[in-house]
């Protein structure tokens, strides 16, 4: 299968989105939405995997270890190949030459750019050439394949799960339409050949998340959450757009391959713009991957249905920021401060989110904050600028996709079973009721906590190794103890991660089995009940309606995910390492100089100990000694409340950003009506006033006119006398 079929990968889901829209029309057709979407995604997945062998350059792979290779970013022997679907935005400008020969020479040198022609007004020659080119073109390189694997793979699994989870919903087709739109957008982001197309995918992903978060649109909180997500993303996208403008200004092109080529070519003179571009692009990444300044939308995004949270807000969309940084690492390398900033933000976010997650009571909120912190890990990995670190970051992206999707989907099962109940305080001991979900979630938690030999253990270890290599100054980087601090932070976060995920697990599944059913009826508020009759008693009394295990359609994908979460470490380590190190991310990475196997071993042991201790503390407090946990909870009540309210940051930003802007709007509206309209009315008033002031002179009284005549006569006589006398 030749590489050109790759260009169909995004367009299959797009087509399925259109089909879903059509299916929305008739209630009868809704059932077909899920299969169409799943088929489309699987087809894309298949094309991606089949195209894998052609992608990338086989002969690069063997000397990736040494890093001592010189290669092209693009073209036959380059790292990736470009496949163009159709032309999108082109701009042509004249390039002037003094003499005809120069023009003709240039025209030959650049075929297809248009031929030399004389300038009618001046006497010099010019060639009409395309200066701005942004097409629907796709750049395929190993990194793209890795991301495609994640997006389409996890996407398909979640879609299958969603088919079961969303059955009976009134907006069934609408859900799958949005999901396929999302897959189209995500694949566009991942495969974009130029920054503008990347931006298109970027915003479409934001739109898809808006539609999916606001799926239960009759709930105002969902609508608000959707709006918040889209706007915060848009703020990030503004930074990203400015980054694109700056790159075009600096490199005269928006095509990633050309930018990377110029960035990595020797004679590139860095100026102030090179320092600014990474930071602007970083802003976009922060918005999309919910890092420190722009993370507040992710926890609220849990309002959407669980498959959405699993797919978009755990596995794929949030990782687009990491992908973008990985893709443009050579550009980030140009400014010395860019990558360290990325790492720092990642580290701080990881710790910050982990602390908040410890005190949340809603399962999905816990996993949302855990996603934010794991993304912090990935940022740290990508931000080190070392081979192991970037490999660790991207491998963690893959493993995280598996176990986080698993966790979300299992919590979906819990919610599905308990009719929307998610508060861990109101449920415990569900292992008997939902055995499969229990042990699947246990697998996910193990992986999240980075229990030795689970998938996350390897990826997190690679990141930690990268951090400490950088701290120790291996591979030609100068040692700096700032990275020691980050390493310590990472270990602390690892401990917290292990603690909060097992806290949830022990609370939900261990202990006495009593639980409170949730309030919402199945999945739809609508009075007219959907076709799906809730087989189990729908009275929502306290405790006596019993939870139920999810259907097989929902459980089958979970098993695959569980397998991935546990064994991806062994299988994927080599493959991902190969893919990452032969992609554009690793062009500028320093070659492996020192032997780090010793360091890796120690770190593995260390993180293993940390993980186990975290699990045991969680077990201690939330399984064996629950009362102890509550006692400590009262003593540290203010801290718990602070963490539970997410450091009050949401309210803070509402108070000092949203409210002032809103009142400013009111003020402007007032000004608009009073001041500017007032001025216009004033202009209209002047003639009327003049008219009114002259009117009394025509009072109609005879003598009035007499006096006026008299005065006129007197004046005339005076003037004549003056004239006669003064001459």
């Amino acid at each position: 299968m030749d590489l050109n079929t790759v260009k169909w990968i995004p367009w299959l889901p797009a087509f399925s989105a259109v089909v879903c829209c059509v299916l929305c029309m008739r209630p009868a057709w809704r059932r077909w939405a899920a299969p169409v979407t799943v088929v489309a995604i699987l087809a894309s997945f298949a094309i991606a995997m089949l195209a894998a062998p052609q992608a990338g350059n086989p002969d690069i792979r063997d000397d990736y270890r040494t890093g001592a290779y010189e290669q092209q970013v693009e073209g036959e022997d380059g790292i990736g190949q470009t496949v163009t679907a159709f032309r999108w935005i082109h701009f042509r400008d004249y390039r002037n030459f003094d003499s005809e020969q120069e023009a003709r020479a240039y025209a030959e040198a650049h075929p297809g750019r248009g031929e030399a022609e004389p300038d009618p007004q001046t006497d010099d020659w010019r060639v009409l050439e395309t200066t701005f080119r942004a097409d629907f073109a796709y750049y395929i390189d190993p990194l793209t394949l890795l991301m495609l694997f994640v997006v389409c793979g996890i996407g398909a699994l979640v879609a299958i799960y969603g088919a079961g989870y969303m059955s009976g919903e009134k907006g069934y087709a609408r859900f799958f339409g949005a999901v396929s739109l999302f897959i189209f957008a995500m694949t566009t982001v991942v495969m974009a050949d130029n920054l503008v197309l990347l931006y298109l995918g970027w915003e479409m992903v934001g739109l898809a998340s808006y539609l999916l978060i606001g799926y239960y649109y009759h709930r105002p909180s969902a609508v608000a959450a959707a709006k918040k997500a889209f706007i915060v993303n848009r703020i990030g996208d503004l930074g990203f757009a400015l980054g694109i403008f700056m790159t075009f200004w600096r490199y005269e092109t928006v095509i990633i391959a050309e930018v990377l080529q110029m960035a990595t070519s020797g004679e590139h003179v860095t100026d102030w713009r090179d320092y600014a571009i990474p930071f602007l692009l970083l802003m976009g990444a922060l918005g999309k991957s919910a890092q420190i300044p722009l993370y507040m939308w992710l926890p609220d995004a849990m309002e959407g249905p669980t498959p959405v949270s699993a797919l978009i807000h755990a596995a794929t969309m949030v990782t687009s920021g990491v992908y973008m940084i990985a893709r443009l690492t050579p550009v980030f390398e140009l400014s010395p401060y860019a990558l360290p900033t990325v790492a720092t933000i990642g580290g701080i976010t990881a710790a910050f989110a982990a602390t908040i997650a410890t005190c949340q009571y809603d399962i999905k909120r816990i996993y949302a904050f855990s996603t934010v912190s794991q993304l912090g890990y990935m940022f740290m990995g990508v931000g080190m600028g070392l081979r192991y670190a970037i490999f660790g970051g991207l491998f963690h992206l893959l493993t995280h996709a598996f176990f986080k999707a698993l966790l979300f989907l299992t919590s979906g099962n819990v919610m599905h079973g308990l009719h929307g109940q998610l508060d861990i305080r109101k449920m415990s001991g569900l292992r008997k009721v939902m055995p499969y979900t229990c042990w699947l979630m246990f697998a996910g938690c193990l992986s999240l906590a980075a229990f030795p030999f689970t998938a996350a253990f390897f990826s997190k270890d690679a990141i930690l190794a990268g951090v400490f290599e950088r701290a120790l100054g291996y591979h030609g980087t100068e040692p700096s103890n700032w990275f020691f601090f980050l390493g310590g932070l990472a270990l602390a976060t690892a401990f917290l991660t292990a603690y909060y995920c097992f806290r949830a697990w022990f609370r939900v599944f261990m202990g006495p089995t009593e639980y409170e059913m949730g309030t919402d009826h199945g999945h739809d508020e609508d009075a007219a009940h959907g076709g799906h009759e809730d087989a189990h008693g729908d009275d929502h009394g306290h405790g006596h309606g019993e939870a139920h295990e999810a259907s097989w359609l929902m459980l089958s994908p979970l098993f695959i995910l569980a397998a991935g979460a546990l064994f991806a470490g062994f299988i994927g380590y080599g493959i991902v390492q190969e893919l990452v190190w032969s992609s554009t991310a690793a062009i500028t990475m320093p070659a492996l100089v020192e032997d780090t196997s010793q360091l890796h071993l120690t770190l593995m042991v260390l993180s293993g100990i940390v993980a186990i201790s975290g699990i045991s503390t969680a077990a201690w407090f939330h399984w064996l000694r629950r009362d102890a946990a509550s006692r400590i909870g009262e003593k540290a009540a203010p801290l718990v409340r602070l963490l539970h309210n997410k450091y009050y940051i949401d309210d803070l930003c509402w108070a000092c950003i949203v409210m002032p802007l809103h009142s400013l709007g009111k003020l402007f509206f007032l000004i608009d009506r009073l001041v500017i309209d007032g001025l216009v009315a004033l202009v209209g008033l002047v003639p009327r006033l003049m008219g009114r002031s002259v009117r009394p002179s025509q009072a109609g009284v005879l003598q009035g006119y007499g006096v006026a005549m008299l005065a006129g006569l007197a004046v005339v006589v005076a003037v004549v006398m003056m004239a006669v006398y003064l001459t």
């Binding site: 025509q698 009072a699 005879l702 003598q703």
Partner: protein, 106 residues
């Protein structure tokens, strides 16, 4: 003084005529009673008559005086008609105030 023999000069009579005319004018403009206004016009005629005769005298011919005859006839005619009108106006609005008839105002 130049020792010149002062004599009754035309200017004397012009002075009187002018004063009378001015008084009539002011009267016409200030008084609000219609009849008095017409009376003031008569006063103006009177001023004119004095001036006319003074000039007639100083020119040695009597055209001025004969013109006075005409002035008299006009005055008489005008008085007759004006007063008739005033009576009508009075009967219509029971007032002689000039301001009552200000309908043609702007």
């Amino acid at each position: 003084m130049t020792g010149e023999m002062p004599s009754l000069v035309l200017s004397h009579f012009l002075l009187t005529g002018a004063v009378l005319f001015a008084l009539g004018l002011i009267g016409f403009v200030t008084r609000r009673n219609l009849i008095i206004m017409f009376l003031c016009t008569e006063l103006m005629f009177q001023g004119v008559v004095v001036t006319l005769v003074a000039f007639a005298f100083y020119h040695g011919n009597l055209e001025g005086q004969s013109f006075v005859i005409f002035v008299l006839t006009i005055a008489a005619a005008e008085a007759a008609l004006a007063l008739a009108l005033v009576v009508l106006l009075f009967r219509r609005r029971r007032t002689l105030d000039a301001a009552a008839w200000a309908d043609l105002r702007g």
